[in-house]
């Protein structure tokens, strides 16, 4: 048993509306680690991230971050503790410019290495577009801005929900190629993906969700395609 996980989720049950989306899900991640959560549509992946971020409160179980309970804290408080979410579908603020979106990301006032300049260094394409309204960016650029906006909170844990959604494969590879640079700042990442190959390449550890339960868990290197398929489709 490791004693000092960065995030420790203990047997949480969570509901999405009236529908129970998570059943006794447990998960842990260490500092500097990248883990992937995979699963089919409706397996509960997004609900899991929203629950960690405080947008959904679990009915049972608890979430420990740096050893302290963050279960039930409102989302605006969770981000101040150092957990930032890149939401599914990017969800940039459409009436704000790219730069204003980044500034809102830094609203929580946590100290750390990330600034607008640093984000533009990571994604140079944003630098020249920082004064454009967010909807003027392409899908890939919006995804970069959404990741940058989350990084502006100087999180210790970054939650990425379906980064690849609706993007061309070449753009997805481009974005994924920068994740190691992000992790190099000492961040831990939880990546939720439907694109399994991409997730397995980036992560060291994989959780596979199926109908709200952890169906499979293991090191990315040890899991074979067959075992993952079995857990993924439940066959």
């Amino acid at each position: 048993m490791r004693d000092a996980a960065l995030l420790e989720i203990k047997t949480i049950d969570a509901f999405y509306g009236d529908f129970q989306a998570l059943f006794k899900v447990s998960l842990s991640i260490d500092a500097g680690q990248i883990i992937a959560v995979i699963g089919a549509n409706g397996a509960g992946k997004s609900t899991l991230l929203k629950t960690i971020a405080g947008l959904i409160h679990p009915h049972r179980g608890e979430i420990l971050f740096k050893g302290a309970r963050v279960t039930g804290l409102p989302a605006f408080d969770v981000v101040r503790h150092g957990i930032a979410l890149v939401p599914e579908g990017r969800r940039l603020f459409p009436s704000l410019t790219v730069e204003e979106n980044l500034l809102i990301g830094g609203q929580s006032g946590r100290p750390g290495p990330w600034s607008i300049a640093r984000v533009c260094e990571l994604f140079p394409v944003l630098a020249e577009r920082r004064n454009l309204p967010a909807p003027a960016l392409s899908g890939g650029q919006q995804q970069m801005a959404a990741i940058g906006r989350a990084l502006m909170a100087n999180p210790q844990l970054l939650l990425c929900d379906e980064i690849s959604l609706g993007l061309a494969p070449i753009v997805v590879r481009d974005i994924y190629s920068r994740l190691p640079q992000i992790a190099a700042e000492g961040l831990s990442l939880i990546i939720v993906e439907q694109d399994i190959a991409q997730a397995l390449r980036a992560a060291s550890h994989v959780y596979c969700l199926q109908e709200g339960r952890v169906a499979l868990e293991g090191s990315a290197r040890d899991l074979t395609r067959e075992t993952i398929s079995a857990a993924y489709f439940g066959v």
Binding site: F76, F93, P94, I104, G105, Q107
Partner: protein, 291 residues
């Protein structure tokens, strides 16, 4: 009538339009940030007038000086009202806040009636009330209407700068765009909404004091001010502060010109122009251009 007299009438309409713009600005701000239609807005204007009445009488100061107290008092009332009551009514449904502010409107009217009776009141601003000067040859304006207009323009400009140039304004716009994601960014939306209501009532406080110096007021005049505010917002187009000022001015001029045609036409002319613009340009004259 000479063209100079008409010019004078239009000018008076423009100046009163500043007051309508202040009625409208707070309404527009609240709707823009949290999609709340505040039916009690007019009654809160009247409440501000009574707060000014109490402050001026208790401290023996000029109503214009009383703004130093009335504005912060109303801002605090707004913050508390939002945190304590209105935040609980917000959700996906527009109806609960509508019903609750409608109830609030009745409570404020009857509360004021109980405390201050139905007697008409007026704030006395002293010598400035009768000061006039000649703007152009043959065109005289009162110092008070002019001051009111200048302050209205300053208030609108201030709101515009706050909305587009400050961190608070950024938080307003982000929360208006996407509430859950705003929370993910560390914004406590309950606080953001309460700040918006505080700001709205701060503007109301200025409007209420000028209203009370210009005309007689009693506890029942709120709903009519709400209508003027609504009309100015719709004419100008939702979400644009300068549009709101233009809306207020158009309403003011319509009323002034209508009153010249027939004294009974003052309010009617304003409503007709409002309906005409609503029919021809339902999005208002200056809608916010969004991407």
């Amino acid at each position: 009538m000479t063209s100079m007299q008409w010019f004078n009438i239009v000018l008076q309409g423009v100046l009163i339009g500043g007051l309508y713009a202040m009625f409208a600005a707070g309404l527009s701000l609240i709707f823009g940030v949290m999609r709340l239609v505040n039916i009690a807005h007019g009654d809160l204007i009247v409440l501000a007038a009574y707060v000014a009445l109490v402050v001026t009488q208790a401290m023996g100061i000029n109503p214009l000086v009383s703004l130093l107290f009335v504005v912060p008092i109303m801002a605090l009332v707004g913050y508390a009202l939002q945190r304590g009551l209105l935040n609980r009514t917000l959700g996906d449904d527009l109806l609960p806040p509508l019903l609750v502010t409608f109830g609030l409107s009745i409570i404020i009217q009857n509360g004021l009636l109980e405390l201050f009776t139905a007697d008409s009141r007026r704030l006395q601003a002293g010598a400035i009330e009768i000061q006039t000067f000649e703007l152009l040859q043959g065109v005289w304006v009162g110092a008070l209407p002019l001051l009111q207009f200048v302050i209205a323009v300053a208030a609108i400009a201030g709101l515009q700068i706050l909305f587009y140039r400050t961190a608070l304004g950024r938080a307003f716009r982000a929360t208006s765009d996407d509430q859950p994601v705003a929370q993910l960014m560390g914004l406590d939306t309950r606080h953001v909404f309460a700040m918006a209501m505080a700001l709205s009532l701060a503007v109301i406080a200025i409007a209420g004091v000028f209203l009370a110096v210009r005309t007689n007021f009693d506890p029942a005049i709120g709903p009519a001010r709400l209508i003027f505010g609504f009309e100015a917002v719709i004419i100008g187009g939702l979400g644009s502060m300068w549009g709101t000022l233009a809306g207020g001015v158009i309403l003011g001029v319509s009323q002034a010109v209508g009153a010249q045609i027939d004294p009974g036409w003052q309010l009617l002319a304003g409503h007709i122009v409002f309906l005409a613009i609503l029919a021809v340009r339902p999005q208002g004259l200056f809608p916010r251009v969004s991407g």
